[in-house]
């Protein structure tokens, strides 16, 4: 039931034009069956799953094709039945244009499910349920794709106060959660109930921005049908980024999760509404996560929400929406935080909540960047209460240590600051750049530490060997010594996977830069990171090289 309750506010935020009507006029449609599926194995935060199929295998819909690699990982499944054409590197839906291992499937058109069985989570231990969800590939569908089983943990006290379901959907253009709540509210709340039981939470708060009256009404009706008054639907004021997890928790519960702590330490856990639906399907229907609702909007004839199989090409997805002729880009996500796609032939993945079709007319290139006039607009708009212009100043001057003192790593890259800046400074680009540089230096430092340790260890060993050799000298033949040396050299050489090889190249490049600029940073808020943050770091690391390229034109020294 909905109830009048006291809401809290977060500072800052902006009210961009929402553009949400276009995609909510029609109900959710099932996207046309694709002729080919390219399913990336690595679709979540955490370790990349191991491929479980090879070329020529026949797979069923819902069959696991990528197995979770350790617990911080999540499985991947075939979205329909068909034949595996290959397990190969394909272009990712990622701005940098990097490729990653994908399972390419040719659908057989029969859409034949594997055997599905509901999971009796009441009978299972929490660990077993979490393992089940991991293998069902359930991840956060708000865009962060954090493996859900890791978050369905009641925490230290063994119970939580509040389960927050995030239906705020504050990004312009995106309406997939809106559509889901309108059409599948009952299933969604069943998922919420499962989550509540797993977390031993006392109440469920569903936060929905008040610009979605239909969704609120549908959810309230569904909540009433459950007859369970621990579930409350709450309309929250429409203000971007009300859907940021920390912001929504703040608005609904008043709790401001302190830096470096988790919301569960304060009795709150937050999930996207789409995730609740996915959990319902996984547990109650025995269906792994193989599709999701995606908004296609922007520069199209008919914007709409589709139920899309993962691995569908974005080009196939947008085709029925009739993209207009002046289309010049595809963005994954919304206009505030979305990512430019390297092309339209990239697959839809679990993180895809929206495929935004762009054009010059819709998203005109910003007027030239002017100097910062310290007007403070950005600080007023920042939901993290940061001083964006100070971080900008220090990032541009490459004084990364100072930028960190201004809490660079508390920036959620929401884009509010850049949105309001009258000087049209691409502020977020500078933060991305600074963050990536700082991570690079972290890596450098680690590498240097490792190298030093290796070196010291070798000295030690050489010393010991010298002594041993002196003792055994008489017994040793010249040939034997040589062999030993060769073996030693072999043992010393670390075995490198291609990934490590790439990392080493990165490190080498970073070392070069570090030499060039002696400035030392002492990263301060990079210690004791949660898996979320570490995962974020990994993502940032991947974006690094490309960002540096993009940031270059902004980094004029004299201005």
């Amino acid at each position: 039931m909905s109830a009048l309750r006291q809401l809290f506010r977060f500072n800052g935020g902006v009210k961009p034009a929402y553009h949400k009507e276009a995609s909510t006029t029609l109900p959710i449609a099932v996207a046309p069956a694709p002729t080919r599926l390219v399913i990336p194995l690595h679709q979540s935060i955490g370790g990349p799953p191991r491929p479980l199929v090879t070329t020529g295998d026949r797979v069923l819909k819902g069959q696991r094709i990528g197995g979770a690699d350790g617990n911080v990982s999540s499985a991947v499944h075939a979205s329909t039945s068909g034949t595996v054409l290959g397990v190969e590197m394909r272009l990712m839906p990622h701005t940098s244009g990097l490729s990653a291992l994908c399972v390419v499937i040719e659908p057989d058109g029969r859409d034949e499910w594997m055997e599905r069985q509901p999971f009796d989570f009441h009978a299972a231990t929490p660990t077993a349920t979490r393992d089940y969800l991991r293998d069902a590939g359930v991840v956060g569908l708000g865009g962060a794709v954090f493996p859900s089983h890791l978050k369905l943990n009641a925490g230290k006290q063994g119970k939580l106060d509040t389960l927050v379901l995030n239906g705020a959907e504050c990004e312009p253009f995106i309406t997939c959660d809106d559509a889901l709540m309108r059409e599948r509210a009952d299933a969604l709340l069943k998922g919420a109930a499962i989550m509540r039981d797993m977390l031993a939470a006392t109440r469920v708060l569903v936060g929905i921005e008040d610009n979605k009256p239909e969704a609120i009404a549908a959810m309230e009706a569904a909540a009433a049908r459950t007859g369970d008054d621990s579930i409350q639907v709450v309309a929250v004021p429409t203000r971007y980024p009300a859907g940021g997890a920390k912001q929504l928790i703040r608005v609904l519960t008043g709790i401001e999760v302190p830096h470096g702590e988790r919301s569960t330490d304060h009795g709150v856990q937050c999930f996207n509404v789409g995730t609740a639906h996915a959990i319902y399907e996984a547990i109650a229907l025995g269906q792994p996560l193989i599709s999701r609702i995606i908004t296609v909007a922007g520069n199209v004839g008919q914007a709409r929400n589709y139920e899309v199989l993962f691995g569908t090409s974005m080009r196939d997805l947008i085709a029925p929406c009739a993209p207009l002729p002046d289309t010049d880009r595809i963005i994954m996500g919304g206009p505030m935080m979305g990512f430019l796609m390297p092309g339209d032939d990239v697959p839809v993945v679990k993180a895809t909540n929206c495929v935004l079709v762009g054009s010059r007319a819709l998203f005109p290139p910003p007027p030239p960047e002017m100097p910062c006039i310290r007007c403070g607009e950005c600080a007023k708009a920042c939901p993290a209460d940061l001083q964006p212009f100070e971080m900008y100043w220090f990032s541009r001057a490459r004084m990364f240590g100072k930028a960190q003192e201004y809490h660079l790593f508390d920036c959620i890259e929401c884009g509010c600051c850049a949105y309001v800046c009258p000087s049209r400074i691409p502020l977020v680009d500078y933060y991305r750049f600074a963050k990536s540089e700082i991570w690079a230096r972290e890596v450098d430092k680690e590498a240097a530490d490792q190298a030093r340790e290796r070196y010291e260890f070798r000295l030690l060993r050489e010393e010991r060997e010298k002594q041993e050799k002196a003792a055994k000298l008489a017994a040793k033949t010249a040939a034997g010594r040589e062999k030993a040396a060769a073996a030693l050299a072999e043992a010393e050489k670390p075995a490198r996977t291609p990934e490590e090889e790439a990392k080493h190249a990165l490190i080498a490049a970073a070392l070069e830069r570090a030499k060039a600029q002696k400035a030392q940073v002492q990263p301060e808020n990079t210690g004791d990171l949660s898996p979320e943050q570490q995962a974020e770091i990994a993502a940032i690391e991947a974006r690094r090289a490309e960002i540096r390229e993009q940031a270059k034109p902004h980094l004029r020294q004299d201005d």
Binding site: F8, F10, N11, V14, P16, T95, P172, K246, G254, I255, E256, V257, P258, H259, G260, E261, H266, I331, G333, G334, P335, M336, M337, G338, F339, L340, G358, F363, P366, P367, P368, M370, P371, C372, I373, R374, C375, G376, E377, A379, P383, A384, D385, L386, Q387, F389, Y406, H407, D410, A418, Y419, V420, C421, P422, S423, P426, V428, D429, Q550, D559
Partner: protein, 339 residues
């Protein structure tokens, strides 16, 4: 743009600056009503000089001239100079003042957004130190004949008939140099320059600036912190001393409604580039200016102290900012983050 956000609020430096100019108009209109059209001549003169100087400096520094010239920041500086200088100042005084603001205070420090000092106040301070008498000749209130004013600006100057000491100047001179028995009440009652609230005519100009200031607040171009802190501090300090010894210290309405107090509160103190940016910093910054203004007005050798007060606080601004950083989300309290 390759990176999010892909769309921006339709805001620009230019629109900010244009709205600042718009906000100055009510004050200017009242000014013309009471003191004649000379101020318009000064505004025109200052604007042309500022734009030429800005263009020349941009060209010298290899910057895109049209893009920066259009930002309007030079015009704001020019208008503020024209409004703080005497409207009958000789033309070259205004020109030199504007040049020192644009060339020295702005561009030699790195141009838009980089200047540590408020350019208009640099101009005022330099000129009042170099030409104290020229900077103290103000037209008599109500004497709005244009021709003598025109001559005052462009020569030949015949000033006696048209000038009058400003209220601040008159009071200071009377209290400091006249016989020791002069009291505030006596001085205020004796001269035509004093009005009902502040200085005659000046009180209405101040009201005009106040209206402009409200517009800036409504447009969210400035926040309430600086004007409120400035005016409140001036009010409290001047009331306190006036209560303590009403014969020697003039009361708050006089301080608030004469000289540059209102213009300062809404248009000068609030210059974002050279001032503080954190909410608490803004309060301290503006309060500091008000205090210094009162001290200079009361004890100093110059009639109005705002320019020096602003420059002094400009020096302190970075330090104040550094020590008044607002708490960042999630850093407010250690432990439980509950409200």
């Amino acid at each position: 743009m390759n990176n999010s956000p892909y769309f921006l609020k339709p805001a620009s430096v230019q629109s900010v600056m244009l709205r600042v100019l718009l906000a100055l108009l009510p004050g200017i209109a009242v000014y013309v009503w009471f003191f004649g059209a000379a101020v318009l001549v000064q505004i025109a003169l200052a604007s042309v000089t500022a734009l030429l100087a800005e263009a020349a400096m941009l060209k010298l520094r290899g910057k895109p001239v049209m893009m920066f010239l259009g930002d309007g920041s030079a015009l704001v500086t020019a208008w503020l100079i024209a409004l703080t200088f005497p409207p009958i100042a000789p033309w070259w005084l205004t020109v030199v003042g504007v040049l020192s603001a644009i060339v020295v205070a702005k561009h030699l420090y790195g141009g838009l957004g980089q200047n540590p000092f408020n350019p208009a106040m640099v101009a005022f301070a330099l000129m009042i130190v170099a030409y104290p008498s020229l900077m103290s000749q103000w037209p008599a209130v109500g004497f709005t004949d244009f021709l003598p004013q025109w001559h005052a600006i462009f020569g030949p100057r015949q000033l006696d008939a048209i000038t009058m000491a400003t209220p601040l100047d008159a009071l200071r001179t009377a209290l400091h140099t006249a016989d020791a028995r002069a009291t505030v009440a006596g001085v205020l009652g004796s001269q035509a320059t004093f009005g009902n609230i502040g200085g005659k005519g000046w009180e209405w100009v101040a009201a005009g600036y106040f209206i402009g200031g409200i517009y800036l607040l409504q447009q969210r171009i400035i926040t309430w912190h600086m004007p409120a802190a400035f005016l409140a501090t001036l009010l409290v300090v001047s009331s306190g001393f006036a209560l303590f010894d009403p014969t020697r210290f003039v009361g708050p309405s006089f301080h608030l409604f004469t000289g540059g107090a209102m213009l300062g509160a809404f248009f000068i103190v609030t210059d974002p580039v050279s001032g503080c940016t954190t909410p608490r910093g803004k309060l301290i910054f503006a309060a500091g200016i008000a205090l210094l203004t009162w001290i200079i007005r009361t004890f100093g050798a110059y009639p109005d102290g705002i320019a020096f007060a602003v420059l002094l606080m400009n020096i302190a601004a970075p330090l104040i900012d550094m020590n008044t950083q607002p708490p960042v989300f999630g850093h407010k309290r250690k432990g439980d983050g509950r409200p």
